[in-house]
Symmetry: D2
Amino acid sequence: MTQVNVGIVGATGYGGVELIRLLDGHPHFNIHSVYSSSQNDLPISEVYPHLSHFAYKLKGINPKEMAKEVELVFTATPSGVSSKLVPTLINEGLKVVDLSGDFRLKDEELYEQWYKKPSASLEDLEKAIYGLSEWFADEVSSADFISNPGCYPTATLLGLAPLAQEKIVVSNSIIIDAKSGISGAGRGLSQLAHYAEINENMKIYKVNKHQHIPEIESILSRWDSEIGNVMFNTHLIPMTRGIMTTMYAQLKEEKSIEELHALYVQAYEAKPFVRVRKLGEFPSTKEVSGSNYCDIGLDYDERTKRVTIVSVIDNLMKGAAGQAVHNANIMLGFEENLGINGLPVYP
Amino acid sequence: MTQVNVGIVGATGYGGVELIRLLDGHPHFNIHSVYSSSQNDLPISEVYPHLSHFAYKLKGINPKEMAKEVELVFTATPSGVSSKLVPTLINEGLKVVDLSGDFRLKDEELYEQWYKKPSASLEDLEKAIYGLSEWFADEVSSADFISNPGCYPTATLLGLAPLAQEKIVVSNSIIIDAKSGISGAGRGLSQLAHYAEINENMKIYKVNKHQHIPEIESILSRWDSEIGNVMFNTHLIPMTRGIMTTMYAQLKEEKSIEELHALYVQAYEAKPFVRVRKLGEFPSTKEVSGSNYCDIGLDYDERTKRVTIVSVIDNLMKGAAGQAVHNANIMLGFEENLGINGLPVYP
Amino acid sequence: MTQVNVGIVGATGYGGVELIRLLDGHPHFNIHSVYSSSQNDLPISEVYPHLSHFAYKLKGINPKEMAKEVELVFTATPSGVSSKLVPTLINEGLKVVDLSGDFRLKDEELYEQWYKKPSASLEDLEKAIYGLSEWFADEVSSADFISNPGCYPTATLLGLAPLAQEKIVVSNSIIIDAKSGISGAGRGLSQLAHYAEINENMKIYKVNKHQHIPEIESILSRWDSEIGNVMFNTHLIPMTRGIMTTMYAQLKEEKSIEELHALYVQAYEAKPFVRVRKLGEFPSTKEVSGSNYCDIGLDYDERTKRVTIVSVIDNLMKGAAGQAVHNANIMLGFEENLGINGLPVYP
Amino acid sequence: MTQVNVGIVGATGYGGVELIRLLDGHPHFNIHSVYSSSQNDLPISEVYPHLSHFAYKLKGINPKEMAKEVELVFTATPSGVSSKLVPTLINEGLKVVDLSGDFRLKDEELYEQWYKKPSASLEDLEKAIYGLSEWFADEVSSADFISNPGCYPTATLLGLAPLAQEKIVVSNSIIIDAKSGISGAGRGLSQLAHYAEINENMKIYKVNKHQHIPEIESILSRWDSEIGNVMFNTHLIPMTRGIMTTMYAQLKEEKSIEELHALYVQAYEAKPFVRVRKLGEFPSTKEVSGSNYCDIGLDYDERTKRVTIVSVIDNLMKGAAGQAVHNANIMLGFEENLGINGLPVYP
């Protein structure tokens, strides 16, 4: 069976360790090496005892050496790190799926405004294909460098795509109320993620300032250039995994809920990882947990003439590692669902 | 010290047992009896072992007998039960604070449309004073019968009152995204509230159909008759206590965030249980847990010209038992904060 | 590739739905049918929306029809149901892996004393092979009917086997303090499993009366006939999945912790699903969650001359569905780790 | 009403903030100042937004100044800090209730062996009265300096006192399996307390090495000099508050469970904060949460001739701040339950 050697940079973060889980079970990808800038030679099992039977040791990052070992690298590195690292990997001829936010915007100023960090160069930004697998598979299939979408944008864009593509949303009318489990905040220590502080608690954060806003807007406007700005807010919820986006929008013309539902069903009928739930049924986050599914439910409220769309994903799967493997499958010409077709872990 | 004998009907529900906790520590109210329609003579400690040192036994409901024992009754009974029970208590001259939804709307048809149950009579509906303590204290102080607001309406209305009272909100522009802990669903068994189903999960429910919608709209329209309909959705969050409402609205005229904040600070400066957080700070639910506080934060988003308001309460306290005691204090002429001035239990 | 048609009885419980997840990803087993005594024709996706893309409908239980469709049946039925159902399946020539407690004890009286239900006949009890895969693989490989071990006994017995097999434990000295997530209590509704009651709570139950006690003792005594009785207590912990057993025992002779550790390493070096953690390291339940691993750590306390052994499993995997598939693999001659070699889902 | 000015050192930890909650509602204690070594002048509301209406600012630690302001100081400081700070407060004539572990052992070597830190001087150790309120109230009432018991020792010692005082336990036979919520690990950041790591997880820690072992043994041996060593292990449970100790012991002579239960009922009948649950009933941690109760249940297992005792407390209340206030009440001659007689917060 075809075996492609791959490497993971940033394996000690939650996105990285989820990549290990998926790639370990993948029929064509072979984890050859896991890299880390800071913890050279440390066995990965010291960082993650749940991998105690794993022999891998973390290796230092040396693009030339990496190019000898592997064909494809997943970079699960923080924003601000990928912008510097990834171009050096590309230069060595490595294929890259980057999970950071550094190559998602195609505008240096916009990046610096929202991320408060120096941007990658416009030249490098333009090399990266935005890998929202369901809608940009063609571009992904001929790419060597994928910028993997953010967790919130994935849930949001999959939920809004059918409306945006139909150009039926009133400009500036979209409001996105997003909720995420704590793993979205990463493995780094912070008061915010201290168990006793966030258990039995719910917290809004980055009010109207989240760096995923321009990412969402830029993709929506590819589909509907007049869709305008979105209002987007994010909440931390006391659970480990899962994102729910509850979205509200006004439509240019009245639609029956049946028409809207049919629009969604049609949009996603050939997309194996998006499940439009039947009319009147709404997904909960646990119903996709541990899997690569995005489930969507919708309603039209006659009283307020607005549509409600609910979209759920596992932030570490469809919102990170799952979608990264999905993109890698498409990029390398494998069946798109290999290694990521596990059912949700329920309960 | 003045001692007023009180009774609790529905003490075996979560609202009821929280009333027991508060009234047990109240300097003027004395829990004389706890009543239940179904479990006559059962010691309350059999239902709630955390009250194992309590001697109270549940008594049957007999309004005439009750009128001999107590002056004031808290009815923490389900919708559909209070509508029948409370008028019989009023008839016996008892003062009543009703925690159900049965007397909050002043329109029989509206009630039946949203609650899917027979309404109390219009005559009885009109007797009940809507006890949103901060804004209707005058009416409460001269009343004998209080309809205690719903949990979601309390958080919502306290969050929107300053805007509505100023009449600066664009009609039909309000969107309320509400999140609640599971205790809001009551103590009754359901698949929804099964630990393994809702732990590590988040669920939207009653999409655009929640019975608190007309309650919210009717009070908002008292303040601003042209405020129109609200869009309101509710989510279950994996925690026991707490409600957060994240609210979005368009304003008729642009306001700086400083002006808006000043408006809120002024509106609540004399209200001891509402804490408007300082500019840039937003409350989390744990910061009011176990207490009668409602904390509010707000932002104005220049990009979308909308205001974001965040309001948090403990659903069993400010959203139920705490506000009921607050109303009882006002009704009987006691200091308003007696028995409910405990600090939040943190962490 | 070899395809074996299998059926699942009791697919609507947590053990059953975990079997669906595992068998759906298994290279040789094909889920032909899911059966239920009560919900004929109901799509499984109505019960479990996380399977919303699944076409399976529940079928009634008819052993003759089942024998035409499938070769092997997993019975994830409650105690008291399996005892009647399984013999009828065996009679039709079906291979069976039974996940209930009905065939684990080989003594009718003992069963009735602890389970408070009528026992299966001794003849049927004796047909069932106790499928603790690590230690009874030989018997399993030639069997047609497996009684799958209980969740607590699996964690306990794997943790104690090396000591018991060496016959070095002082008789009657074993104390097992077991803790389980709530999914172990099943999907049925109960006050015990109501979210608001068990969240932020910890509860001991069936004090010294758990029906897994005789199962543990009967297997231990196969290894060491003089090992005597065990003290065994069980606690519910506010999490969905996971069992930890903390075990204490006196040894007949002093052993260094190094000797003990070497004994464990050797006992399990050829068993792919048991990971003896390195000296000084102890497993946590999340480190095996979603996987078929049992992780073990141990210590010797010089002060009290007792050994401490900690053993963790995912109760729905190694403690139920995972071990059932493991047994099925062995029984049908497949590689033992097929379909159950996924890494733990972390975090 | 008598008003005693008190100060809190270490108010930014969880023990300190719980002291604020209790003392704020206490009829006789007035929180005059909150002190911190490191965050001079910082409003406490910046650290704890749930106290956003509080005006207190943290003050630097200056024993001479403190002695002018307050009569009594609660030191909720870490081990290793109290040993140096408290003697300077005593020297200034301040009354002290110290919540650290620094003065609980009366043996410098033992302290240094278990705490791995320099001990306070023997002279200072001997000044401190061990404040297990139920059993040492007489000494407390005439003391000026209380060493408040540890959380685990409180639950353990209250659970074992009646047996130890009767001298009926077989020497070296006690095994204590303790479980704690995460707040017990304090507010400091650590991987252990990161939400995504400990949610849906259970972890054993400090196996046979917990520094509370000598504290437990030294008090038990005051009651029964031949009781010997205890085996004691501790587990982190995914919840914020609560400790359960499950304890196992052999008795020198057989006792019926009725006799044992009577012994416990009698031992605690005059102690308002210990509730011996009725025969056959066992407490859960939520049943004491937010309160100063310690609830105890017990069983005698005929099969293994051992007693099982279960004891639960809220680690921040009875296990820290609640007991500290209890001791302060006794020390200053107030009614013992003032300020700490709130009912458990349930659910």
